[in-house]
Subunit: 196 residues, 2 copies
């Protein structure tokens, strides 16, 4: 039998992500994708059940890659300071090194497909980060607070900095540029809020 052309399959994925990020979910169509990837529209239906399945699969795959990246060098038993540093490092790395794929996840997070992509996130990932916070509170390293409050104070500022950077938003005169320096400066401010 004839084998599936993996190069072709990868090209389809790449072009699909590009198009979704560039033109939004509404600018994305199967026929345009087929044209861009130099493939017959029918081929897409060999790879994927339908349009929604294609988008969801791309999202799931990338969400998995993200969780894997975020656990690199991380251990829930780490000290709070050290664990937080690793998390900020990993999150910044992922967003800055994969801006297009990160933008795909961002699009999906604000779309009707959000549930289908993010509701089945890796259990180990959620557990690991949950235990980390639990430990820090138990050890009296940080103020006691719910996970939602913790997440909002601990990570939302970082994500917002990255968003300002990638979307070229400037609140002052010159456009804002993310840097290691400004990241760790913000980190210090955030840590000041959390530590006892």
């Amino acid at each position: 039998m004839r084998y599936r052309d993996e190069h072709k399959e990868l090209l389809v994925k790449e072009k699909a992500i590009e198009m979704i990020v560039r033109e939004g979910l509404d600018g994305f169509s199967m026929q345009k994708l087929a044209r861009e990837a130099r493939v017959s529209p029918a081929t897409l239906y060999i790879y994927y059940k339908d349009k929604e399945d294609l988008i969801v699969q791309l999202g799931l795959e990338e969400a998995t890659r993200l969780t894997t990246t975020l656990l690199k060098d991380f251990d829930p038993a780490m000290s709070f300071e050290e664990g937080m540093r690793v998390q900020w490092r990993n999150r910044a790395d992922y967003w800055l090194e994969n801006p297009v794929k990160a933008a795909l996840l961002e699009q999906l997070k604000h779309s009707p497909l959000r549930t289908r992509v993010f509701d089945t996130l890796d259990k180990g990932f959620i557990d690991s980060l949950g235990r980390f916070v639990h430990n820090a509170i138990a050890n009296k390293e940080i103020l006691p607070m719910t996970r939602e409050v913790f997440w909002s104070v601990a990570y939302a500022p970082l994500y917002n900095l990255i968003r300002f950077h990638t979307e070229g938003i400037s609140l002052a005169g010159e456009p804002f540029r993310f840097s290691e320096e400004i990241m760790w400066e913000t980190f210090a401010v955030v840590m000041k809020a959390l530590k006892i």
Copy 2:
């Protein structure tokens, strides 16, 4: 001459926002909108130049309402503590009292139309909030930092709490519910980070 039916015009706006929020920008179409608002498709082209113009106008109108709301009871000459309290109050009020319209703005912020909707935000609004932060730093009420870092630490946690609430995201067992109590608890933590 015949006058424009304002009730009809308002209904079109309302249904359009509903549909965009419910089905995303890609699920939104002029023909479906016409059907839902019991209007001829052609009528939409009396109100708006084309589809994009319709979306952008809805966005601009709502963005204006938002900036007006955020300046209520606010004065850049306020003390840092007081001004921040008003800002958190206003922002929470807007998002919780207008969840659908807020969701529209959120959608547009993550779409290719972002620039057309948000790049011409009211000057007075930006100036007012900018002066507020500048004053606080000059008076040594808070640590010196760029506006982007300030915004990220001061407001991103609040927006994230609201997002968790409206999207029904739970990091622990039971679904997360926003409340005044949790809001001011988070406020206190954030203020701890910013104050000298």
